[in-house]
């Protein structure tokens, strides 16, 4: 005891190392910030993830308001405008700055091959106008209107930012409408697999024992079958005559039947490591019910991990839907999805004639990459207290 008393009192209080004022502020903020603020700070460091998040927000907006943002409806056929190449938006006319405009396309025939070709008519200018009147539609199924975000004022000409396909339908409009179906299929599929994965992962991780090993075997097995043949087998069993909307729901369920395993693995791992935490034991000793322990004490501690895993699962779903529809086993033509649009690009002759038909493929790549980056960023940020 005497030894202790001899020691000077300040040696008991650890001295903070000298810090620059700014760092001091940051450190203080870090100590007092809420977990979600910390996660956001860490997420912000992943530049690609932030850019991807912005990209997806814009795309989501475009998809939600597809009927307003697109100049035409997805099924407007224009027989004199088949396989028209994309219009180039220009701002210089005869060397002078001009508001954004396009040149009209002149339809002609190649003398040798008799193939339809399109040429820009440099003499005339078609300015792009905003909030123009076009075809009527129901905005979000609520308001009937005919105002489109942009378009051109011309009876004969169309503005086709991404060109047209074999029936002269505007690919840009179809791409936006397709984004609705494809993105929502991914989200709904993930929602289903989220429920399955959370339930089975939680049971398997929390209770363990023979239930755990049964679920583990099942997951292992599902993971190891090549997914595409299994998806195909299930998708092909859906009768062709069914309502497209119903088929759409079933396809998303089929996608999620296989996708849940990854999520379940993450949830199980978290449950296993949280089960032995002191605060869980404390809750149990305090007499909390199992349901309360799981939902109140354990689930909040893994929310960020689950969100990261869910984000990483979305691109799988999107790729699955695209692949199935591309093969003709998923969604079918009256429905417009990116996979359905890519069906037009199956044929080598068509692609060499109209390479812009691959645009939905580019969209798929961008979206898949964006979700992967966001997921990576979230995974890094999921545990803001770690190193």
């Amino acid at each position: 005891m005497t030894d202790l008393q001899i020691l000077p009192p300040q040696s008991f209080t650890p001295q903070a190392p000298p810090l620059a004022p700014k760092e001091q502020f940051n450190a203080d903020a870090t100590y007092t910030a809420k977990p979600w603020t910390l996660i956001w700070w860490r997420f912000r460091k992943h530049k690609l993830a932030v850019v991807s998040l912005a990209f997806m927000a814009i795309l989501g907006f475009l998809a939600l308001f597809a009927d307003f943002m697109s100049p035409y409806t997805p099924n407007t056929i224009s027989r004199l405008n088949t396989f028209a190449p994309p219009n180039v938006v220009r701002i210089f006319h005869e060397g002078q700055l001009h508001r954004p405009f396009i040149y009209p396309m002149k339809r002609a025939r190649d003398i040798e091959t008799a193939r339809v070709i399109y040429q820009e008519d440099r003499g005339k200018v078609l300015p792009i106008r905003f909030f123009v009147a076009g075809e009527t539609y129901n905005l979000l199924g609520l308001v009937e209107t005919n105002i489109h975000f942009f378009g051109i004022d011309d009876r004969r000409q169309q503005i086709n930012l991404l060109g047209t396909e074999s029936l002269g339908r505007d690919l840009f409009s179809r791409l936006l409408y397709g984004a609705r179906v494809t993105l929502s299929a991914g989200l709904i599929g993930v929602a289903f697999s989220f429920v399955l994965g959370l339930a089975l992962g939680a049971i398997s991780g929390y209770y363990g024992g023979w239930l755990d090993s049964m679920i583990q075997r099942l997951m292992e097995f599902i993971r190891s079958i090549p997914t595409i043949p299994l998806w195909m087998g299930l998708a092909a069993a859906l009768p062709i005559a069914w309502d497209p909307l119903f088929v759409y729901v079933l396809i998303t369920i089929i996608l999620s039947l296989i996708g849940w395993t990854h999520l379940a693995r993450v949830v199980r791992g978290r449950f296993l490591s949280l089960k032995s935490e002191d605060y869980v034991l404390a809750a149990r000793l305090a007499g909390a019910s199992e349901y309360r322990i799981v939902t109140r004490h354990m689930l909040p501690a893994m929310t960020s991990y689950i969100i990261a895993a869910v984000t990483l699962a979305i691109p799988e779903m999107i790729l699955g839907e695209t692949a199935l529809s591309f093969l003709g086993l998923g969604l079918r033509p009256p429905v417009v999805s990116w996979g359905v649009l890519l069906q037009d690009a199956q044929n080598l002759r068509t692609i060499s004639l109209a390479p812009w038909l691959l645009a939905p493929g580019v969209a798929v790549i961008l979206v898949v990459l964006a979700f992967n980056f966001i997921g990576d960023g979230l995974r890094d940020a999921a545990d803001p207290y770690g190193q």
Partner: protein, 328 residues
């Protein structure tokens, strides 16, 4: 070790029964049955059978029996006689159809897997040992792109580019003029100009993901003290890296090598369809589209059996390479 293998095999039996049942259910899923499809086929060719004849056929083939009885008949034919049933569309035995196309499928899948490994392992090791170097970034970008670009899209783009720039149609296994010809040097050479696309597509698709896995594993291993010890003993970098951490980092590869078995069998379905290759994948797609369910169900059954065998195989391999597993 033997008891470990025994335990794994014991697990395999209920799984096999389970998957065969699932396959049978998939066969039964579409509305109607074999006779309905058969009658429809006859009608298409101008022939017809009466309701009574249909009923007689149903009774003869036992289609009115309970599901379990039918299942037993189907599975016992497969187990005891190797008879997978008949394909309605092709009007021949399912097993003949499958074996016919299996050779090429196996060749393409095996080759592409070998290429995948040849690319992924050295690149993964390089990326990990030279972390944040220029090439590491290049490979990282490549990895992300490979993850984002669907295989079939890559195949389409490659086909289109060779068509536009080299003016070659590389779809199919050989050019049309060689189709049905006996194999000789010219045909073989022609095949080589076609086969590189599926190999390239499949290898890059697989390698992109594996490089990431290999790099992450290697980074974990390189930080461990035993690596430092090895350096301290005076071994050169090459010896240290390839002799110790690489062996450990390969563990996830071994545990998934068994899964390659079903993938080998099915080939990459979509790529094969896009490239119009005569492998098993397009056959499966065709069977599914025509609801030729015996062919499709047999496919799924064979795939599943391969999966189970593959999983057991990789478990055994893992146990061989890592003593911790077989004693736990």
């Amino acid at each position: 070790m033997l008891s470990y293998i025994g335990r794994r095999l014991m697990w395999a039996i209920p799984t096999l029964i389970f998957v065969s049942f699932i396959s049978f259910v998939i066969i039964q899923l579409p509305p109607g049955d074999f006779v309905t499809a058969y009658a429809a086929q006859l009608r298409n060719s101008g022939d017809y059978i009466t309701e009574a004849q249909e009923a007689a056929l149903r009774a003869e083939w036992g289609l009115n029996d309970p599901l379990l009885v039918q299942y037993w008949r189907w599975i016992s034919n497969i187990i005891f006689y190797g008879d997978f049933g008949r394909s309605l569309e092709w009007n021949s035995a399912v097993s003949d159809l499958i074996w016919e196309r299996l050779g090429l499928t196996l060749a393409i899948s095996t080759l592409s897997m070998v290429f995948t490994w040849l690319i992924a392992i050295p690149v993964g090791v390089y990326s990990a040992t030279r972390q944040y170097s220029v090439f590491d970034y290049v490979f990282t970008v490549f990895g992300f792109l490979g993850k984002g670009v669907p295989d079939f899209l890559l195949a389409l783009i490659l086909m289109w580019m060779t068509f536009v720039w080299l003016n070659m149609d590389v779809g199919g296994l050989v050019s049309p003029q060689f189709e049905g010809q006996p194999w000789d040097l010219a045909k073989f050479g022609n095949m080589l100009t076609h086969i590189w696309i599926p190999l390239l597509v499949l290898a890059t698709g697989g390698a992109a993901g594996l490089i990431r896995v290999m790099r992450a594993n290697m980074l974990d291993e390189l930080r461990k003290p035993y690596v430092e010890t090895a350096y301290a003993q005076g071994f050169g970098e090459r010896t240290v890296v390839w002799r110790y951490p690489v062996r450990v980092a390969l563990n996830p590869f071994i545990s998934t090598v068994g899964w390659a078995l079903p993938a080998l069998f099915s080939g990459d379905v979509i790529t094969a369809v896009v490239l119009n290759l005569p492998t098993t994948g397009p056959l499966l797609l065709q069977a599914l589209k025509m609801q030729d369910m015996y062919l499709a169900g047999s496919f799924i059954l064979i795939l599943s059996v391969f999966t189970v065998i593959g999983t057991v195989l990789s478990d055994i391999l893992l146990a061989l390479s890592d003593p911790r597993i077989r004693f736990s």
